[in-house]
Amino acid sequence: MSEKTHTPLFHVSRRPAIPAWHAWAIRIGAVIIAMILSACIMGLATGQAPWNIAATQFDGVFGTPRRLWITGQNTAILLLISLAVTPAFKMRFWNIGAEGQVLVGCLASAACMILLGGKIPNPALIALMAVSAMAAGALWALIPAIFKVLYNTNETLFTLMMNYLATQLVAYFIIVWEVPKGSGKVGIINQTTEAGWLPVIGGQENLLPIIVGVIITALMFVYLNYSKHGYEIAVVGESERTARYVGIKVGKVVIRTMLLSGALCGLVGLLIVGGLSHTISAELAGGRGFTAVMVSWLAQFNPITMIFSSLLIVYMDRGAGEISTIYGLNHAFSDIMTGIILFFIIGSEFFINYRIDFVRRAGKEEKTNV
C-alpha cells in the first residue's frame, strides 16, 4: 500500500510496421466482432435471435436480383465518392466537402438538362453535362484549395462550409425550376423526351455506375501507385518539407489534386442525376460525401480495398434498413448500427499501430496489489 512509485499496469509503444496480413486480420476481426454485436443489438430490439437477424439482413441486401442491383449501384456510387476524396487525403488534405462537390455536379447536370434539353442533339447534351458537372465539382474543390495554398486556411472547416453553400444553391435553383410552381420539387426532368438521360446499358440502369466504378477504381489504383503524380501526392502527404526539398511544388500538387478530387465528385453528380434520379434535390448526396471520408480511411486509402469497405457500409445500411422495415423500427436504426461498426473499426486501428506490453511484476507483489 505504501508503494511510492506508481508502476503502470501496461506499457504502450509504437509498433514497427507489421505484416499486412496481420493488420488486415485485426481489422477483419474488428468488423466481425462489430457485426456480431450489432446483430445482438438488433436481436434485442426486435426480439429475434441474432442469427435470424443476420439472415434477414443478408436477404435484404442480396436476396433478389433487384436488391442485388441496388446494392451494387449504391456501393459503386459510394465507392466513386470515396475514390474521389482519396488523393486529397493521401496528401493530408482533409476534404470533407465531397457532399457539396457532388451536389454542384448534380446541379450542373440538371441545369444542362433543363435549359438545353431538346435544343441540341442528345450526345452533345450528355457531353456538355459531363463537362459542366466535372467543372462545377472541380470549382467547388478549387476554392478551398487556393486559400489553403495562399494562406494555409484550414481546409477541413472551409470544405465543410462549402457543403452548405452548395445545398442552398441547389435549394435556390429548385425553386427557380420547380414544376408545378409552389411544389418545392423539380420532378422528373425531360420525362417524355428523355433528353440528357444517360444511356441504359443492357436494360439495367444500375449497371452504368458499376461499370464507371470499376474503371475509375482501376485508374485510381494506377494513378496513386504507379504515376509521378501519385508519387508526389504521397511525398507531400508524408512530409511537406521533404517535398519542398526535393523540388516538388507543393501548391501545384495541392491544387491539381483537389481539381481531380472535385471533378470526380462532379462526375458522380452526373451519374446520379443523368443516370439514376433524373431530378434534382438537395438530398441527392444524402450524406454520402461524409460517409466517403470514413470509407476511404477504413480502406487505408487503397482503391482496391475501398471496394470492400464501401460494400461493408452499404451492407450495414441496407441490411439494417431491411430489419427496420420488416420489424417496424425506425429507419434511423441503420445509422446507429453503422456508427457502432465504425467505432469498432476506428478503435481497432490502435491495435495495429501500437503494442501493449503488460508489465510483469514479482508474483507475490502482484497478489497484494490486486
Partner: protein, 329 residues
C-alpha cells in the same frame, strides 16, 4: 422600417443553441480535439432530455413538480452527451484514432440515435402527427419572468427568454474567463498548442483532453435540449434540429475560439439564419434560399481573413486534430 423589436428576440432564440454548441466545441478544440461529432452530440443531448421528460411526464401524470420537470431532463441530457464525449475521448485520446473520422462517425451515430429513439417514442405515443409534444415540461423550461411583459421593448429584448438562454450566456462568459485568466485555462491552451511541451511541464495531457472534451460535449448537448424544450416548445420531430450543429462549428471559427465573442456572434448568426424572413423579397421565394447562405459565407470570409492576417492569437490551436503520443516526438 425593419422591425428590430421582434427581430432581435427571434435571432436570440435561434442563436442560443449555436452558442451552447460553439462554447462546447471551443472548449474541446482548445484541448486539441477537433470534434466533428458536435452535431451528433447535440442530437443525443436533445433526445436524452426528451426521453427523460417523456418518462417523467408519463409517470407524474397531471401533477408535475416544476423543479423535477426541469432537473430530470437536464440530467438525462447531460448524461447522454457525456457518454458521447467519453466515446469520442476513448477513441481519439486513449486509442489515438483519427479525429475527423471519429467525429464524422459520431455524427452519423448521434443523428441516427436521436431519430431512432425520437421515432420510437412517437410510435409509443401513437400520435397521428410525426412528433412528440412535451408541452408541460416545455412550460417549465420556457417560464419567463412575469415582469418582462410590463417593461415594453426592454423586456422583450432582454427578458423574454427561458432560463437556459441565460445559462448559455453565463457558461460562455465563464468559459472565456477560465480560458484566458486562470491557470487551468493556461494549461488547457498549452495542451492544445503544444502537448509535448505541456507534458514536459507536468500537465496530464489525457486528463485535460478528457475533461475539456467531455465538458464541451455536455455544454453542446444542452444546446440540443434548449432547442427542443424552449425554442420548439417541447415538440420533437425527427431531423428538425437540422444542420445547426455544423453552424455551431462554423461559429467557433467565426469567433476565433473565444466564447465571449460567441455570445454576440451567436445572435448575429441566429439573425442571419432567419434574416430571409425579414427581407422583403415579394413573391420571389427562391432568393430566400440564397439568404440562408449568409452565415456560411460570413464564416468562410472570417476563416480566410484570419488565416491571411495570421495573427498568432487568432489561429486555431496548433495541434488541433492531432493525437498525442508521448513516445513519438
Amino acid at each position: 422600417m425593419f422591425d428590430f423589436i421582434s427581430f432581435i428576440p427571434r435571432a436570440v432564440v435561434q442563436g442560443i443553441p449555436l452558442l451552447f454548441g460553439a462554447t462546447g466545441e471551443t472548449l474541446t478544440e482548445k484541448s486539441g480535439n477537433l470534434n466533428l461529432g458536435i452535431p451528433g452530440i447535440m442530437y443525443v443531448g436533445a433526445i436524452s432530455g426528451v426521453i427523460g421528460a417523456f418518462f417523467y411526464e408519463q409517470s407524474a401524470g397531471g401533477n408535475m413538480n416544476p423543479v423535477l420537470a426541469v432537473v430530470i431532463p437536464l440530467l438525462t441530457c447531460l448524461l447522454g452527451s457525456l457518454l458521447m464525449g467519453l466515446i469520442y475521448c476513448f477513441l481519439t485520446v486513449t486509442l489515438r484514432a483519427n479525429q475527423n473520422v471519429t467525429g464524422l462517425a459520431m455524427t452519423t451515430f448521434g443523428v441516427g440515435f436521436g431519430n431512432f429513439f425520437g421515432g420510437s417514442l412517437i410510435k409509443l405515443t401513437g400520435a397521428e402527427v410525426p412528433s412528440i409534444a412535451l408541452s408541460a415540461t416545455s412550460a417549465c423550461f420556457s417560464a419567463r419572468l412575469p415582469i418582462a411583459e410590463n417593461l415594453g421593448w426592454f423586456g422583450q429584448i432582454f427578458l423574454s427568454y427561458g432560463f437556459l438562454a441565460y445559462v448559455a450566456v453565463a457558461i460562455a462568459l465563464v468559459a472565456a474567463f477560465v480560458l484566458r485568466h486562470t491557470r487551468v485555462g493556461l494549461h488547457l491552451r498549452a495542451v492544445g498548442e503544444n502537448p509535448a511541451t505541456a507534458d514536459a511541464a507536468g500537465i496530464s495531457i489525457s486528463r485535460y483532453k478528457y475533461t475539456a472534451t467531455c465538458l464541451g460535449s455536455m455544454v453542446a448537448g444542452l444546446g440540443g435540449l434548449y432547442y427542443v424544450m424552449d425554442y420548439a416548445s417541447g415538440v420533437w420531430s425527427n431531423n428538425a434540429f437540422g444542420d445547426r450543429g455544423w453552424l455551431a462549428i462554423a461559429l467557433v471559427i467565426f469567433t476565433v475560439w473565444r466564447p465571449n465573442i460567441a455570445v454576440l456572434a451567436s445572435i448575429l448568426f441566429g439573425g442571419l439564419y432567419i434574416l430571409y424572413l425579414y427581407i422583403p423579397t415579394g413573391t420571389d421565394l427562391a432568393v430566400k434560399e440564397l439568404y440562408k447562405m449568409l452565415p456560411y459565407i460570413a464564416t468562410v470570409i472570417v476563416l480566410i481573413i484570419v488565416s491571411a492576417r495570421s495573427k498568432k492569437e487568432n489561429q486555431p490551436p496548433a495541434s488541433l486534430g492531432l493525437a498525442y503520443f508521448r513516445e513519438e516526438r
